[in-house]
Amino acid sequence: MRLRRIAAALMERVESAGVAGAAPYAAFEHAVLLAEQVRERTEALQQTLAELHAAKAEAEAANLSKTRFLAAVSHDLMQPLNAARLFTSALEEHDLPAPSTRLVGHVGRSLQDVEALLGTLVDISRLDAGVLEPDVAPFPVARLLDVLAEEFRQMAAARGLELHYVRSDAVVASDLALLARVVRNFLTNAIRYTEHGRILLGCRRRAGGLEILVGDTGPGIPEAQREAIFQEFQRLGERRDAEDRGLGLGLAIVDRIAGILDHPLRLASVPGRGSLFAVRVPAGRLPAAPPSAPAPAWEGDVLAGTRVWVVDDDPGICEGMTALLAGWGCEVRTATSLAALEADLDAHASGEAADVLLVDYHLGEGDPDGLAVAARLRERQPGLAVVVITANHDASIKSLTRQRGYGCLLKPLKPLRLRMQLVGLQGGGSE
């Protein structure tokens, strides 16, 4: 009898289980069940989170090491490339038979291509790794566009295109080098894809800033592809000629740089009529005493007699520099370290003064860096003009040199840039 009663109670309980009701005990049971589920889920979630954290740390470490590897490789590749470019430039100055001149020209252009490709790869990895810090400063936009217009006018003319440049007096605030890459990419693309007609380079004032425009009379970009062209390895249409090398990374870089600089991009295009690429740059304000712009003079012997000291830990570079600078009529003294230069001066030329010091930023292991060398030599010779050369594209070094009133050139060194810098320093007088 008792057993039957117990069994009946248990059956009632079992059969009412799972029925959602307002009974207090059921509410308790429900709460226990929920708490258990929450506990299990929390545990599972925590484990997943821990795994995610580990995976993320691993991926970040891998990414960092990839970036470091690329930086190291590019640095090591830039050095010999730099030397090769200097030698080629020096060779071009020689009086060579016509076939040799043509060959030297080919070598030079090939090296130029390698350099551009390498630079592009390095840039995109640096942009992706987020290590690139923009160095924003005010400058007249004409300082950038005048040079680009000159450069691309010749390229356009070589393809039978006309480049129409509308000059602007506006001052903008941006990273000159990064912005130059953006506009350069626009111009390269415009020339690459336009069969005939003209290229326009100009500016339009906008609220709070300026829009730099590059227009062309090319085939235009179909609506559907306007996003795709900003992705890596995307190229539209057929390559026009075999000499036009590239990885299709141009606009991908433009997109990343615009993101870093916070400069909005704009693309307008009518298929069959042409395209217009634009980047919007905020207005800038020049400091009270604007630095004198380098005079882009180009007279054969303007540098003749200029005394230049070169400090670079790579003897190949020293040799290349000597060849190049001597070709311009400079008097050159090279050394692979500060100590070597000082020893050389003390032994052979005490009291010798220089007009310009060209110093590599990154000198031998354990040696003072280029800035320290410059400071030391300025103690010896106050007012010595300094140009720091570096393969490190960090904005920090550029801004350090600017603070000190030094020039700064990036490796691989372009002979034309070096020449302009030297001429500019001469024009600006001794500071």
Partner: protein, 399 residues
């Protein structure tokens, strides 16, 4: 300034930021004097909230007024107890309080008066209100860095539904709490909020802090082999009329080997019954023997539930292990706020271990009260030690 207490070192209105939580105790029976004594210890310019646990002996209306006057403008919440846990351990007949520094805690507090009508809609509104109130002052992301403290009228018999409903509305925010007591007289228990004491009511306190914390529960009871089946129950009154188809008191007395007349709370404390759900046992504490031979419980009962007889393992050793584990995870706690079932205290009293218990609680910086039931994540549980441990150092900022 408060000219009433010229001797107080904190009357200049400044507060030491290294003390996020202050505690105070008063053993004065006069409510005015007790409230002032607490205010001297706790009041400073950055006091944001005061939580207290008091003996049910106090004239409650007068105590409300005195607290109101002494803690002018500072929100105050609390409840009556079956014994207080002060900085010195177990006490009775007094009032213990915690002051929360607003630079470390954003606290919001709400009162629920109509417990039987507390449905999910109301719960959601209440929780939304608390979150909104906290949000402006929040010191850390609300969902991850907050916990809720519930104080319920311990004789309302509504705990299960209210808690399950509230827990659903709180979502991921952990909650714990206790049912108010009345020094084992089982007559009237009260919670305090919004300037007064209330019966048949609940107080919900939402606490947001940058300090690390952990809500926990523990008990020291282990299952025996004997099982009792509830064959008749009065769920409205939480009464079990029959166990194993025999009068409940009689069958329970047989289990513990005592005559029915000898069944007193200390026997209930040492011979608890529990329901097993999954791997866990949840004690269903017996409140008293009724004249009709039935047993009243402190929590919901139902026909057909199976009760497992439990035996106590050493209580203080279990507690010490839990405190050590908390310290290992959080660092030395600044404070543990505890809801400690009054049956546990009864067991310690029977075993003459109260002093040892007080020393352990004082050493572990526990402040709290003896309850008529505890709450943990929406569960109404009995004969446990349930609370929150609050670390003393801010955890390293989230990545």
């Amino acid at each position: 300034m408060r000219d009433l207490f010229p001797a107080s070192p904190r009357l200049d209105g400044t507060a030491d930021e290294d003390v996020p939580l202050r505690t105070a105790v008063s053993r004065r029976s006069d409510p005015r004097a007790a409230a002032r004594e607490l205010a001297v210890e706790l009041c400073h310019s950055e006091l944001g909230f005061m939580l207290f646990f008091c003996s049910a002996e106090y004239p409650l209306a007068a105590l409300s007024e005195s607290l109101d006057a002494a803690f002018d403008g500072v929100p105050v919440a609390g409840c009556t107890t079956a014994g207080e846990i002060t900085p010195q351990g177990y006490e009775r007949g007094g009032i213990v309080a915690i002051g929360f520094d607003r630079r470390h805690f954003a606290v919001s507090c709400a009162l629920v008066e109509d417990l039987s009508g507390f449905d999910l809609m109301r719960a959601q509104r209440l929780v939304d209100g608390l979150l909104d109130d906290c949000r402006d002052r929040a010191l850390a992301p609300l969902a991850e860095h907050s916990f809720a403290l519930t104080l319920l009228d311990g004789l309302s018999s509504c705990e299960e539904q209210v808690l399950a409903t509230l827990d659903a509305a709180l979502g991921r925010i952990p909650s714990f709490g206790g049912s108010a007591g009345d020094d084992n007289r089982l007559a009237h228990t009260h919670v305090h909020a919004e300037g007064g004491f209330h019966g048949q009511a609940a107080v919900v306190v939402l606490i947001n802090t940058r300090l690390p914390f952990e809500v926990f529960t523990t008990h020291h009871l282990r299952p025996r082999d004997e099982k009792l089946v509830v064959t008749r129950a009065d769920r409205e009154r939480r009464r079990v009329l029959e166990l194993n188809a025999l009068p409940a008191a009689e069958e329970y007395a047989r289990l513990v080997g005592l005559p029915v007349e000898a069944l007193t709370p200390d026997v209930f404390a040492r011979h608890p019954l529990a329901v097993r759900l999954g791997e866990a046992h949840f004690v269903r504490a017996i409140q008293r023997v009724n004249d009709d031979g039935s047993l009243s419980f402190y929590c919901a009962v139902e026909n057909g539930i199976v009760l497992t007889a439990m035996r106590p393992a050493p209580l203080l050793e279990d507690l010490e292990t839990v405190f050590a584990a908390l310290s290992a995870r959080l660092g030395e706690p600044a404070l543990i706020i505890a809801c400690d079932c009054f049956l546990r205290r009864l067991e310690l009293e029977t075993l003459a271990r109260v002093d040892a218990g007080s020393r352990l609680l004082a050493r572990s910086r526990v402040i709290g009260f003896n309850t008529y039931g505890e709450q943990h994540h929406g569960m109404h549980i009995n004969q446990t030690f349930t609370g929150v441990a609050i670390g003393s150092r801010t955890a390293t900022p989230d990545a």
